[in-house]
């Protein structure tokens, strides 16, 4: 067996191992169903909305916050305009003039993390939340999140993220990916190993920032870095899978590549800064399982794509060379309906198993957050995600190694 194929088997083993581990975790502790119980108490909550040129979506974001089912006197909304050059400021100012819950803050452009920190400095609320200005919360999302904070050890919460109104092939592909993400987040919660507090609707106890400091630039992935830092300080992050937030996703391939390159590169660079957490039992499953698997998966994804590309190019080149040498006119290969001619090698069975377990994880994610997925979305995910992901992985690695300039969007 070639060394290239052996490495592919190793990648498959790791993928299967991780999926089995997560499914075991699911069987051990299944996510609870949503209930109508009201929170025992209502802590004061400040929702920070950092904005930079978000005139298309900021109104919807603010409207969704205003529609939250939460006592008005306990909720404040801090819209931080990070030096937008469009009409974002005017829109937000208009809302602030109409509703006393909204505070409008304007500052020079300094990046999302600076906008968040300005917002944190302007509030004394018990709970500080962030909501990207392209995301929209479900009316009961805050109630559901606050119930999870009833556990005094929980220091921060991530929501269940869904794609807002997916239509195009690229959007429905991401809808499946986000549903898979819902499953992953819940299982990471079971393992106390959540690896990122995403911009759309992550909530923190105020003391988190007092204990570990404010957001950092962190290679434009401040939401990932703060999760790393919280694990370092032993602060618990939980997942509120019944707190639903809808987010706008990139609708073109270049914008998707830019976003994912930023995320992937941020992971590599934050991993370098927090290298000591890798394989360190002191940080629990986060250090021993989640971080190492994520890093190996990064390179395994690149390797598998390279291997497949090498095989595909080799096959096409051989076919073309053979056609030129033999003079045989183009024709379809003979179709055999007999089972005998099916590819029934070990690799085939393993790939089918990995894909099946991925499908199970997506379906569980769909059940956890009551998401409806169409056949089109499954087709888009299984047909295109594997083709696109290696592109941003390669770009991220290239950028991290050569330390090229980082691009937010």
């Amino acid at each position: 067996m070639y060394i290239g194929t052996l490495i592919l088997y190793a990648c498959l083993f790791l993928t299967l191992y991780f999926e089995v581990f997560l499914l075991l975790s699911f069987l051990e502790r299944r996510p609870g169903v949503k209930n109508a119980r009201a929170p025992r108490h209502y802590p004061s909550v400040a929702m920070i909305v950092p904005c930079y040129n978000e005139e298309r979506t900021v109104a919807g974001t603010i409207e969704s916050l205003l529609a939250l089912e939460y006592p008005a006197e306990k909720l404040s909304i801090l819209v931080v305009n990070d030096g937008s050059s469009d009409t974002t400021g005017a829109i937000a100012r208009g809302y602030a003039a109409r509703d006393p819950r909204i505070v409008y803050i304007e500052k020079e452009n300094g990046g999302k993390y600076t906008a968040l920190n300005v917002g944190i400095a302007h509030t004394q609320a018990d709970i500080v939340g962030c909501l990207d200005a392209d995301s929209f919360v479900a009316p009961d999302a805050l109630l559901e999140a606050v119930k999870v904070f009833e556990d005094p050890t929980v220091m921060a919460i991530t929501p269940a993220m869904k794609v807002s109104k997916p239509h195009s092939m690229l959007e429905v592909m991401q809808a499946v990916e986000y549903t898979f993400g819902i499953f992953l987040k819940k299982m990471f919660d079971n393992l106390a190993a959540i690896n990122v507090l995403p911009g759309p609707f992550s909530l923190y106890r105020r003391e988190v920032f007092e204990r570990i400091g404010p957001f950092r630039h962190a290679y434009n992935t401040e939401d990932m870095e703060i999760a790393f830092r919280m694990h370092r300080h032993g602060l618990k992050i939980a997942n509120a899978h019944t707190a639903i937030v809808y987010t706008t996703v990139p609708c073109t391939i270049p914008s998707l590549l830019r976003q994912r390159t930023r995320w992937s590169r941020g992971f590599l660079e934050n991993s370098r800064d927090y290298y000591y957490m890798y394989f360190n039992p002191r940080y629990g499953h986060f250090g021993v399982l989640v971080l190492p698997v994520a890093l190996v998966a990064f390179f395994a994804g690149l390797y598998s794509a390279g291997f497949m590309l090498y095989k595909a190019v080799g096959y096409v080149a051989t076919r073309v060379t053979d056609a030129l040498a033999t003079g045989i006119p183009p024709h379809l290969p003979a179709a055999h309906l007999d089972w005998y001619y099916l590819n029934t090698g070990m690799l085939t069975f393993l790939i089918i198993t990995v894909l099946s377990m991925t499908l199970v994880a997506i379906l569980l994610g769909s059940r956890i957050a009551a998401t409806r997925l169409t056949l089109k979305s499954f087709f888009a995910y299984f047909a295109f995600f594997g083709l696109l992901a290696p592109l941003w992985l390669a770009r991220a690695l290239f950028g991290a190694v050569l330390a090229t300039q980082r691009v937010w969007r």
Partner: protein
């Protein structure tokens, strides 16, 4: 830290790998059995034709020639053997054994076909002996194989007998010696003519086998 879960996940993953390995091997074994069964059927067919030929002599050429459907069966067997080679490897002892049996069947069919054609004027098949090697010393053999497969598909009555030149089989060695085929592969013998060496593309093969014009094709005739 719950290390037990790590161990259980490892054991389950290992079990999945072992199951995949087991299923793949069982299916490969089923393929070998499939080839053996086909070879048995073909050897019975050959024996039957030989017996029929000996019983009737040249008295009933019509009946004998109508029973000559072995060529397509051997062709199907060849493609099955090729799949087994890909899955199990060319040096697998079962594959080598099956290949030897297959080569013997080919030689027997070739000899019988020649005997019948010598006595029966209405049975004059067009045949090609093709000698190849898949030991890595014949880069053009795969391409020549494709040309012959294409011809065989286009002209179902063309009889192609393919032999692995390096197969350790006394009957094959004798055939190679009789036809004076040296190891400059690929080597092709058309009908009873001299051996030709090297890659012959489609048009070259069509020139080498002018009898192809007399054979029916699988493509519709153009008027």
């Amino acid at each position: 830290m719950n290390w037990q879960r790590y161990i259980i996940a490892f054991v389950i993953t290992g079990a999945i790998f072992a199951t995949a390995f087991y299923i793949a091997n069982r299916l490969d074994a089923a393929r070998v059995a499939d080839i053996q069964s086909t070879q048995t059927a073909i050897s019975i067919d050959i024996l039957s034709t030989e017996t029929q030929f000996e019983l009737l002599g040249s008295l009933d050429c019509e009946a004998i020639s109508q029973g000559q459907t072995l060529s397509s069966e051997l062709s199907d067997l060849a493609s099955r053997l090729s799949v087994a080679e890909q899955n199990l490897g060319i040096n697998n002892t079962q594959v080598v054994s099956l290949k030897k049996q297959y080569s013997l069947l080919e030689i027997k069919d070739y000899l019988l076909m020649r005997q019948i054609s010598a006595r029966c004027r209405n049975f004059q098949p067009v045949y090609v002996l093709y000698f190849y090697s898949n030991s890595g010393d014949c880069p053009q053999c795969t391409q020549e194989g494709e040309v012959l497969t294409y011809l065989r598909t286009t002209y179902p009555d063309l009889r192609v007998y393919a032999f692995d030149y390096n197969l350790d089989l006394p009957a094959l060695k004798t055939l190679i010696a009789l036809r004076r085929v040296d190891d400059t592969l690929p080597a092709i013998v058309v009908q009873n003519r001299a051996v030709v060496y090297g890659l012959k593309d489609l048009s070259a093969m069509q020139k080498l086998i002018p009898e192809l014009k007399t054979l029916a094709t699988t493509t519709p005739e153009v008027h």
